[in-house]
């Protein structure tokens, strides 16, 4: 009986459609499960190797209460936000241009995907030699990580725009600028937001990596110092902070992404 129900594709399709909204409660349960798993790990490995969730949270509270912390946090926030803005604005502009110009896009795409897949961390000596120690090196690191997905997603979004939209634009005798602003960008928005989401994650990652090598300040610097001294408590506390921040921001962008896509489907 159960098997026959499962085999019924109509019922499953219908149900899947009705439950399009992800069940937040289940995700909460899942996070609870992960925390429980973490606690089990602590029991198995010992508090020295893997501090417990409770110990980590109180350690994090301690770190955040420290008078030095706001300075570090502000440094990381400033660097990653600047890198993010540069990645998004420049990535969008380059992506639009490459998407609109067919040959340029064809020339650039394999080079961009190749750049995307190389371990960019190895470029840090070059970045340091070019920018010196300090915030600009960190920003540069964030940008080289984040800009490529933004370019690639935007380029593909522009390429995949329905030809009939562009023909409508010509029929309405829009200028190139009007076409870009009123047709291409709005039509490509869901794809562009997906690019922003990936770009955001990688920009943050890149900035942190930059801080680990190219800086005396910031959360990345705190991390690498704790790693060098074997201070697992601090490493776990900072890791938790980053995981929570990154997941929250990414989840917010994901929600926006889904809404835009549904909107695009509905219209």
């Amino acid at each position: 009986m159960r098997a026959a129900q499962d085999a019924d594709p109509l019922v499953t399709a219908e149900r899947a459609e009705r439950r399009a909204v992800p069940p937040a409660l289940d995700t909460m349960l899942m996070i609870g499960g992960l925390v429980a798993l973490w606690q089990v790990g602590t029991i198995l490995l010992g508090h020295e190797a893997l501090p417990s969730p409770v110990a980590t949270v109180s350690k994090l509270a301690g770190i955040m209460a420290d008078e030095d912390f706001p300075r570090h946090a502000w440094e990381t926030a400033r660097a990653s936000l600047t890198a993010l803005v540069i990645s998004l604005v420049a990535g969008l502009a380059i992506g639009l241009a490459l998407g609109a110009h067919r040959l340029a896009g064809e020339v650039a795409e394999p080079m961009l995907t190749a750049l995307y897949s190389i371990p960019k961390i190895t470029l840090y000596p070059i970045i340091l030699l070019l920018f010196g120690l300090g915030i600009s090196a960190k920003i540069a690191f964030g940008v080289i990580h984040g800009i490529i997905p933004v370019i690639l997603f935007t380029m593909n979004a522009v390429r995949n725009i329905c030809a009939v939209y562009l023909r409508s634009a010509r029929a309405m005798r829009l200028t190139a600028a009007q076409t870009a602003g009123t047709i291409i960008v709005p039509a490509a928005v869901p794809e562009i937001v997906s690019g922003f989401r990936v770009g955001f994650a990688l920009t943050l990652l890149g900035t942190l990596i930059g801080e680990m090598f190219a800086s005396q300040r910031g959360i990345g610097y705190m991390l690498v110092k704790a790693m060098e001294t074997g201070d697992t408590g601090t490493v776990m506390a900072l890791a938790l902070l980053l995981v929570v921040l990154a997941t929250a921001a990414s989840a917010a962008l994901l929600a926006l992404d889904r809404r835009l896509r549904r909107h695009a489907l509905a219209s």
Partner: protein
């Protein structure tokens, strides 16, 4: 075996309620019986449950109530032997050649290789695909791909052929020609055919009998006998009787279509 090839009594389909949604009564009750070798079409407004009816008959979905007898044996949520289905969507496998696509079901059923080759060759010739045997579906036009799906079904020698808007994605001229081919196949294989379509012309041209369905929940509100000879093709469209049939179909369907349109918005 009884005189009916396929017999439905009180067949109903209700989608069960899920959290936040009431149950949906999609279909029925439907009573219908098809004689062996009959060509029967179902027309109805969109969303009336035509495709649900086909799924239930094919055993792809389970009826909530009622009985379906195919060759005297009940059908309940599992596909019985002797039924072939062609879907509206392109279901040709892009990773196989035309020949391998057509041979797919026979090979899975363990038919000996020599027989597979013989039957596939025959079916491809029959459906005009012989010269494309080594091509891949992506190299064919939409009409050719749909023809391949029909060939893939025919090669299994189904006694009941269920067609779910198989020509829905094709242009009008191609549709008419594919309809002629379908009639030829129907005559030569002797299979019983049940065709779901939204085209009144198509139903009127091809069928012995046409069932007109109401808006949801779909029930038959009219059964139209065309009275065409078994030897026929799309040139029927020029005859006076053709307009009478489509006129009667539309008369039965118009109010239902208006209702369906209002339901959708």
């Amino acid at each position: 075996m009884s005189a009916e090839h396929l017999c439905l009594t009180g067949v109903t389909r209700i989608y069960p309620a899920t959290e936040g949604h009431a149950a949906v009564h999609a279909l029925g009750p439907i009573d219908l019986s098809l004689k062996p070798g009959e060509f029967f079409s179902v027309v109805g407004p969109s969303g009336c449950g035509k495709s649900t009816l086909l799924d239930v008959i094919a055993g792809l979905a389970r009826q909530s109530a009622g009985t379906i007898l195919f060759e005297g044996k009940p059908v309940t949520g599992e596909v019985p032997d002797g039924i072939g289905v062609v879907f509206q969507e392109d279901a040709s496998f892009p990773w196989l050649t035309v020949f391998d696509n057509a041979a797919f079901a026979l090979r899975r059923a363990g038919v000996p290789d020599a027989e597979v080759r013989e039957r596939v060759r025959h079916t491809l010739a029959f459906t005009g695909l012989s010269s494309f045997a080594q091509a891949y579906p992506a190299q064919l036009s939409g009409g050719m791909r749909q023809r391949l799906c029909i060939a893939r079904t025919l090669v299994t020698r189904p006694r009941l052929l269920l067609l779910d808007e198989p020509f829905g994605a094709l242009d009008q001229q191609t549709r008419l020609l594919m309809g002629d081919e379908l009639l030829k196949l129907w005559r030569e294989t002797g299979a019983t055919v049940l065709l779901i379509t939204h085209s009144l012309d198509e139903a009127a041209l091809l069928s012995d009998r046409i069932g007109v369905m109401s808006a949801r929940p779909g029930v038959f509100i009219d059964l139209v006998e065309t009275g065409w000879a078994r030897e026929r093709d799309s040139r029927l469209a020029a005859e006076a009787g053709f307009g009478v049939v489509t006129g009667r179909l539309w008369a039965a369907l118009r109010d239902q279509s208006i209702k369906a349109l209002a339901m959708a918005s």
